[in-house]
Symmetry: C2
Subunit: 334 residues, 2 copies
């Protein structure tokens, strides 16, 4: 893991984040012409490593061909986040961060650190797709192609309620939360388990639990409880609760039009765009993703059938992996 | 409200509920031949009054024609429940109750109190439909017709997780829960609000929140927060938390085959059956309701399109009301 340190960073909230820090990883080598870079921002709770499942020689995200940058995001350790920042911005006092802040600091990484003027592709899943949309609207001249997977420019009304109810509230209502000044992350463990239940209940498509076609069984879990414990509880327990809450609030406020006209904002995208949705994904439903694609001048929409829905992020089946690689191959060929 | 008091009642758990009590209301007059009775059990958190929206002269459930019994259920005040029962079975010590217990005590009401040998129709919504299935399997000779709305014989795996995560856990994880021995119901108010968020997130079909077609707007609410506060929070705050938990656990354990072969149990139903599901209802999805209907010898399945999904229970639109009345009219005509 490397770190980009832009010094004091002016957040869009008006607060100056002192000694800001953006973690990142790279794969491959930047060409002399600096014309082979791909930027792949992260999802909520994700780490740069979590995205490496999509990178490999002979695959579309081929490190022998492309220079692939996996940037972190504000609110997520080890980048500047509640768990990694000194007073006065530590823990419950960490300032609000926004998708625009992520994109602005990533832009500085890309231009100042690497001297890149054009990205061959910006792509992301879920909150990473929110960053992708922000990139394509904010820096259209730099984004040659974009690919959004299970994401969108901003959350729907339901998705905002989901971010509050399933992600944030289980933690902030834990009796040991103490406005984010808990003694240590494991103090809010019952909140993390409620979060695991809430995400197990809401993230997967209905078919994931359907008798005779259980998605969890195909992943090697012995029961639904086993799936919840070893998948969701493990996922949430590996993270700092304040970090998760900061990222959830960031996702809720995502809006590349900054409170303006989203249709106008999306019409300014010049990138060749691919918008991919997964059947039965309630977080970013296909119909809504298609409506987003319809507002981008040069966009293709594709719906992929997967029992894993929003969790296709994790490349849980060979079928998902191949369908997604194929979509990426096509967008990179154009 | 009337009360049927069967004395000491042997629950299927093996515990004897001392001075058991079943609340009920009736509409219309029982004929001399006792051949015009309809039984209409209740849903989770419902009261007999909540079902009166389906009763009216000139409508299928016509009190000038039928004698309509609206029974309470165990776990729900003012019937025997945690909030209405004396020590040693008060509050957190109330014994587990099962759908079979509801049906057994309702059977005594119907036969001992009224001397009814055959019910023209047993119908219910959701947990009321679970009681309807139990009636039709347990007392096939007494149930001439049955109608299940947004319900089934037992909950799916997802619905069990929903009962735990959205209904039970927000209450039992409240710091003031104290194993059900809270000082008063309002002490677990933050749990009730989390429950309101969780049900708002999970009960309605996705279209209910979709921009441009918001179901909550058609109900006169000013915003989603307004809907959550005045609909869901009001619904949960009107109930005793232990009562709600007892009913949720009862619903989770519903199974007219009592751990046996459900297909065999449903094949014993002799009632003419109508099984109605609502498009987009995640609690009892149409595909699963249809599979239930397919296992009943004389059953019709019908899917009704409604933006309210599971909430169609409350007759929230004239269109829902007419579609449901029409279905009831047809089942009663056969």
């Amino acid at each position: 893991m490397d770190f980009f340190e832009p010094g004091d960073f002016a957040l869009s909230s008006g607060i100056t984040l002192v000694n800001a820090r953006l973690a990142y990883k790279t794969h491959g080598t930047l060409s002399a012409a600096k014309d082979n870079a791909i930027l792949f921002p992260n999802f909520l709770g994700g780490t740069p490593e979590a995205l490496e499942v999509w990178i490999g020689e002979g695959r579309p995200l081929d490190p022998s061909k492309y220079f692939i940058i996996l940037p972190g995001q504000f609110g997520s350790a080890p980048s500047s986040s509640p768990s990694t920042t000194a007073a006065p911005f530590d823990r419950g006092a960490f300032p609000a961060v926004h998708i625009a802040d992520d994109v602005r600091v990533q832009h500085r990484l890309v231009t100042e650190k690497f001297g890149i003027q054009e990205l061959q592709l910006v792509l992301g899943w879920s909150v990473g797709a929110m960053q992708t949309y922000e990139w394509a609207v904010r820096f259209p001249g730099m984004v040659k192609r974009m690919a959004s997977f299970a994401g969108g420019p901003r959350p729907s009304a339901w998705t905002k309620l989901w971010l509050h109810t399933a992600i944030e509230e289980p933690l902030t209502s834990d009796p040991h939360w103490n406005n984010g000044f808990y003694t240590d992350a494991q103090a809010v463990l019952t909140g993390m388990y409620r979060q695991a239940h809430a995400t197990a209940l809401t993230v997967q498509p209905p078919g994931f639990y359907r008798e005779g076609a259980e998605g969890w069984r195909s992943l090697g879990f012995a029961s639904i409880d086993d799936f919840i414990s070893r998948f969701w509880a493990t996922f949430w327990r590996s993270q700092d609760p304040n970090d998760v809450v900061a990222q959830a609030r960031k996702a809720r406020s995502a809006d590349p039009s900054a409170g303006g006209d989203l249709t106008a904002a999306l019409s300014r995208i010049t990138a060749k765009a691919l918008v991919v949705a997964f059947t039965g994904d309630p977080i970013f439903p296909p119909a809504e993703c298609k409506a987003d694609a319809d507002r981008i001048p040069h966009a293709q929409f594709r719906e992929i059938e997967s029992v894993f829905g929003h969790l296709a992020t994790f490349a849980l089946s060979e079928q998902d992996k191949q369908a997604i690689d194929q979509a990426l191959r096509e967008v990179l060929a154009n």
